[in-house]
C-alpha cells in the first residue's frame, strides 16, 4: 500500500466515531467576527494606515501625483543610491526626476549576487491594510518578482490612496487573487529572537519607505 493510501486510511479509521455531518462549509463556521474594527471615514482609514506603518518603523511620506517623481528622486538621493531596481510595469513618470540612479530592470536571468549589488528598489503594491499597517505585493506589473523587494536594502513602495487601502485583513483577502505569489510586509525586517524583544533590521530591507500618493 502507498503511504498516501495508508495515511488516508488511518484518517478514516480515526474518525469512525464522528457522526456523519454534511453541512455545507459556508454554513459550518460561525463567522460572527467583525469585517473591520471601528467606524472610520476613508480619510481616517488612510491616517490609520500611516500611523500603523510608522509604529512598526516604516518611514511614511505623503504626496500627490505631481509631487511623486520629485519625492522618489529625493528618497533615492538621500540614501545615496546609485542603482535602482525597476519592475517592468512601473509607471515611467514615477522615475522621471531620479536622474542620478541607474535603472536596473527586473530580469529572470539576474543572479541573487547581482541583486545584492543594487542599492534600492521602487514598486507599487496590490493593497494596503490600515488596521495592521501592512502592504501586500502580488507580483503585479508594478511590483515584479518577489526577490527584488527582498535583496536590496532599501525599498520604496508607492500606495495609491485611498483606492488601494482597505481597513482590515478580511477585506484585503477579498481583494487578492489566491494563485498569485504574495508577500505581506509590515515594517522593515525584524526579529524577536533575542529576549523576546523586537529589533528591526535582519535579512530583508532594513529601510522601508512607504509613499502614500493621493489619487485625484
Amino acid at each position: 500500500m502507498s503511504s498516501r493510501d495508508l495515511i488516508l486510511g488511518r484518517v478514516r479509521r480515526a474518525l469512525a466515531d464522528v457522526p456523519q455531518d454534511d453541512t455545507p462549509y459556508e454554513q459550518a463556521i460561525d463567522r460572527a467576527y467583525l469585517r473591520e474594527h471601528g467606524d472610520r471615514t476613508t480619510e481616517q482609514t488612510v491616517d490609520l494606515l500611516a500611523e500603523n506603518l510608522a509604529d512598526y518603523r516604516a518611514i511614511v511620506h505623503r504626496t500627490d501625483a505631481d509631487g511623486l517623481p520629485g519625492l522618489i528622486a529625493r528618497l533615492l538621493a538621500e540614501r545615496g543610491s546609485r542603482t535602482v531596481l525597476v519592475p517592468d510595469g512601473l509607471p515611467p513618470q514615477w522615475l522621471t526626476e531620479a536622474a542620478d540612479a541607474t535603472r536596473v530592470p527586473d530580469r529572470a536571468a539576474s543572479t541573487p549576487h547581482e541583486l545584492d549589488e543594487i542599492d534600492s528598489v521602487v514598486t507599487g503594491c496590490a493593497v494596503a491594510v490600515a488596521e495592521t499597517g501592512t502592504i501586500v505585493l502580488d507580483g503585479g506589473p508594478d511590483q515584479g518578482r518577489r526577490r527584488i523587494t527582498l535583496v536590496p536594502d532599501h525599498h520604496v513602495c508607492v500606495v495609491r490612496v485611498p483606492g488601494q487601502v482597505v481597513s482590515s485583513v478580511p477585506q484585503a483577502l477579498e481583494r487578492l487573487t489566491p494563485g498569485r505569489p504574495q508577500t505581506w510586509i509590515s515594517g522593515p525586517s525584524a526579529t524577536s529572537d533575542i529576549e523576546l524583544d523586537r529589533v528591526e533590521g535582519v535579512h530583508g530591507p532594513r529601510a522601508l519607505e512607504v509613499v502614500l500618493v493621493s489619487e485625484e
Partner: protein, 492 residues
Amino acid sequence: MSGTFVGMPAFPKAAHDAVRNKTLRGNLRHATHTIRDKRARAVTELEDWARLREAGKQIKDHTLRHLDRYLVQLEEAVTAAGGIVHWAADADEANRIVTYLVKATGETEVVKVKSMATQEIGLNEALEAEGIHAYETDLAELIVQLGKDRPSHILVPAIHRNRGEIRDIFKREMGEWGRPAPEGLTDTPAELAEAARLHLREKFLRAKVGISGANFMVAETGTLVVVESEGNGRMCLTLPETLISVVGIEKIVPTWQDLEVFLQTLPRSSTAERMNPYTSMWTGTTDGDGPQTFHLVLIDNGRTDTLADQVGRQALRCIRCSACLNVCPVYERAGGHAYGSVYPGPIGAILSPQLRGTESEIDASLPYASSLCGACYEVCPVAIDIPEVLVHLRERVVEGGPVTRKGAKVVLKPAKGHAAERAAMRAARWAFSHPGALRTGQRLASRTRRLHPRSLPGPGQAWSASRDIPAVPAEPFRDWWQRTHGGKDDAK
C-alpha cells in the same frame, strides 16, 4: 518523533535540575513576562477576539473531521499549480524522501526556514548523515545550531539564552560555519542581528535548495503560507531553484477566506504584533518568479493516532503560536529543555505524549508537568482545553486502556510507578462506599493528629517531598455538622 531527545530523564528530574540554574530562570522570566503583557495589549485591540477564537476553533475542528477529503483536495490543487506532493507515514520516511529529493539536485547544502515539523522528524541529522549540510537561518535557530544546543521554545528556540551568551556563541562559532562574527561585536540586539545578517547572506545568495515548513495550507487553492519576521523565510522561499516544504497533515484550512481568522489571531498570540513583518504565500510554482521546482511532503508521524483519540484530538488544532508557553508558570520555571521534546510547554505536554505514545519515561511524565491552572487554555487562539487533555492523558498513563499506535488499535498497560496511586484510589473508592468505615476512620485520624508525620513513608515519600501533607482537623466535618446544626436541615 526525533531521536534527538531519546534517553531524556522524566520531567520531574529534568525540571529539578533546571530550576537550580539561576541564569536560565532569569532569562526565561524576563522573556516570558516581556511578551505576556504585550500579547494582552495586542489582543485587547480586537473587540471581537472571542469570536475570532471560536471561528478558529470551528475551522480547525471542521477540517480535522473531514481531513481525508481536504488532504485529497489539497493534493489536487498543489499538483494542478505545478507542485509535486509526497506522503510520509513517519519521520524515517519523510527524511528518506527529503534526502532523496536533495540528492537528486546534486547539491550538498540546503538553507532552512524555521520549521517545527522538520525538527520533529530530526531532518538536519538525517541529512548530515548523508553528507548534506542544512543551515538554519532563523536567528534563534542559528543560535541553537551554532551553540550545539537544543531548542527550548516553539517560537524562540534560543529563549534560554541572554544577549551576552548569544554574543559569546557568535564570536566562538560563526567562523567555523562561514563568515566570522565582526570584530568587537557587542551584546546589543541590533549588533547581534547585524552579525547574523552578514553571516547568512552568503549562504542565501548561493543556495540552490530551500527547505521550509508551513503555517497553513489552503485546500481549495493549494496555497502555502509561511509567517515570519526576519526575511530569512523569504530568502529560502524565493531565491533557491528548488523548494521542499515539509508539513504536518493537520496544517490544512479549507478555504482562502479562512486565512482572515488566523492572520489576525496568530501574530497577536505569538509575537504580540498586529501583523508579523513578512508573510509569504505561494501556490505551486510561478513562471520566472521563485523556485521552479516545488515539492510538498505531507507527514503523519503520529498525527492520525492523535486524531483517533476523542479527547486528545483537539491538540491538532494547534497553530504553534506559543502563547501557552509564555503564560505557563511551570514553563517559566522549568524551561523548555525539561520537556524533552521539540514541543515544550503546555502544548508539548499534550502533543508529545500523543505523537510519540506514553511508553517512555519522559512521555509518561509529561501530562504531570502542569499545575492545571488553566492559563494556557485562556490564551489559546484555537481554544484547546489543555487541562482537559492533560487529565485525560494522566488517566491513560495510570489506568492504561485502548489507544491507536501507527494506525492500529492497541491496549496500553497501566504505567509502572503508579501502583501506590492506584491502591490509594481503590481504597478511597471502598471507603466512600462504606459510610460507617469512613466515619470511624475520620474520627481515628482526628484523635491521632498530633502523631502524624510531616512527610509520608514508603511510596508516598516522593509525593510529600514537594508538598505539605494537609493537616487533619480536630473534628471531622460530619461530626461538626451534626453538633452545630443537629441535622435540622435534613427535615426539609
